[in-house]
């Protein structure tokens, strides 16, 4: 039980990286990158988790309850925002590349430049 979340992290990172390496389409490649990014959310939240603890929001729990770590949750929020902006920028680059080379296959693009 104590290692399963970390195995999920490794799995997400692994399949995402495999997708990035083997992808034949930029849009697909960017989606694979988001899968890799998802592993960091799972890792951050898994690190902050404490068995039996509640969410660190004191609206309806007593002030001295045992709660999970709020810092990693704030970091996850930052992570999500940065991922969204990186994806937007990469998609814009993919549009630009398609206009220029007429393809979204990274390998075909390399061949065209040779």
């Amino acid at each position: 039980m104590s290692v399963y979340p970390y195995i999920v992290v490794a799995w997400l990172l692994g399949v995402g990286l495999y997708g990035v390496i083997s992808s034949r389409n930029y849009i697909h490649l960017i989606m694979c990158l988001t899968v890799m990014q998802a592993s960091t959310y799972v890792l951050l939240l898994a690190i902050g988790y404490r068995t039996g603890a509640k969410a660190p929001i004191f609206a309806d729990i007593p002030e001295h309850s045992r709660v999970v770590d709020p810092i990693v949750q704030a970091l996850t929020l930052t992570d999500v925002v940065v991922e969204a902006t990186v994806v937007a920028l990469l998609l814009a680059l993919a549009v630009q590349a398609h206009k220029r080379y007429g393809t979204t296959d990274p390998d075909a693009m390399v061949r065209m430049r040779e």
């Binding site: 039980m1 104590s2 290692v3 399963y4 979340p5 970390y6 490794a10 990172l13 990286l17 990035v20 390496i21 083997s22 898994a46 690190i47 902050g48 988790y49 404490r50 068995t51 969410a55 660190p56 929001i57 004191f58 609206a59 002030e63 001295h64 709660v67 999970v68 770590d69 709020p70 810092i71 990693v72 949750q73 704030a74 929020l77 930052t78 999500v80 925002v81 940065v82 902006t85 990186v86 937007a88 920028l89 998609l91 814009a92 680059l93 549009v95 630009q96 206009k99 990274p106 390998d107 390399v110």
Partner: protein, 248 residues
């Protein structure tokens, strides 16, 4: 797959597997995490700030400087998207509007009605999530995305013309984006003037559980919410332009 890509990929996998295995040896078992700093922050939000959501208090008060950096990452990448996509558009921008919108008639009545019906509730929900950030789960980033979803409902309803006009006038989302980013920094300067420390809380804490608790946190949430919605709207309308130009 080309050879250079394969070689670089294999190198990356080796480094990653090694680094991950090395890093995993230092991890505590799941569920036993205990960070003194985290614990301290979680239990000092209510006495120090009268705000109940310690995640938002961490992001917008104790570690507000990090959030300023995050906000400017968002701002700059939106500028990057706009620059990249406008470089392609060029002269096509000058064509009359009805030439640019050939698909509008193909949208079904049902999706037009659904789009129109969703705009109001989504906007209200967004405002609710933003202003309750310091009390319950939510905050500026989440609320901004929901506000953007309300505007995307206009798009789903097939009202391309409306969005296109918004993009052409361009001032509304740009002002929202820039104003939201500037607003957060202004709040930081408020701290500098009020307490002598940048981004230090300078407003009264209010009473726990009320909308005006948490000092500057509600203001920061509102400015971030406006910025996120403006930024996403700019990205959406630029990508929409690509779609409309592509269909010619």
């Amino acid at each position: 797959m080309t050879r250079p890509r394969m070689i670089i990929g294999c190198l990356a996998v080796l480094v990653l597997v090694g680094g991950f295995a090395w890093g995993a040896t230092g991890l505590h078992p799941f569920g036993t995490g205990h960070s003194r700093y985290g614990n301290h922050l979680a239990h000092s939000t209510v006495p120090q700030r009268a705000a109940t959501n310690s995640v938002v208090v961490t992001a917008f008060d104790y570690r507000a400087f990090d959030t300023v950096g995050e906000e400017f990452i968002l701002f700059i990448s939106v500028v990057g998207v706009v620059v990249l996509l406008r470089a392609i558009r060029g002269d096509a921008d000058d064509r009359p509007e009805d030439e640019l919108v050939p698909e509008q008639r193909r949208i079904s009545e049902a999706s037009r009605w659904l789009g129109a019906a969703l705009v109001g509730p989504l906007t209200v929900l967004a405002a609710y999530v933003v202003v309750h950030g310091q009390l319950t789960p939510g905050g500026g980033f989440q609320g901004g995305v929901i506000l953007m979803a309300g505007l995307a409902a206009i798009f789903l309803g097939g009202e391309y013309l409306l969005l296109l006009r918004l993009r052409r006038s361009a001032t509304v989302p740009q002002l929202a984006d820039a104003g939201g980013a500037a607003g957060f920094v202004m709040i930081g300067f408020g701290g500098l003037i009020g307490t002598g420390v940048f981004l230090q809380n300078f407003l009264p804490n209010g009473s726990q559980g009320s909308l005006l608790s948490g000092g500057m946190i509600p203001l920061a949430n509102i400015s971030v919410g406006i910025e996120v919605a403006g930024a996403l709207l700019m990205v959406l309308s630029e990508l929409l332009d690509q779609r409309l130009l592509g269909s010619q």
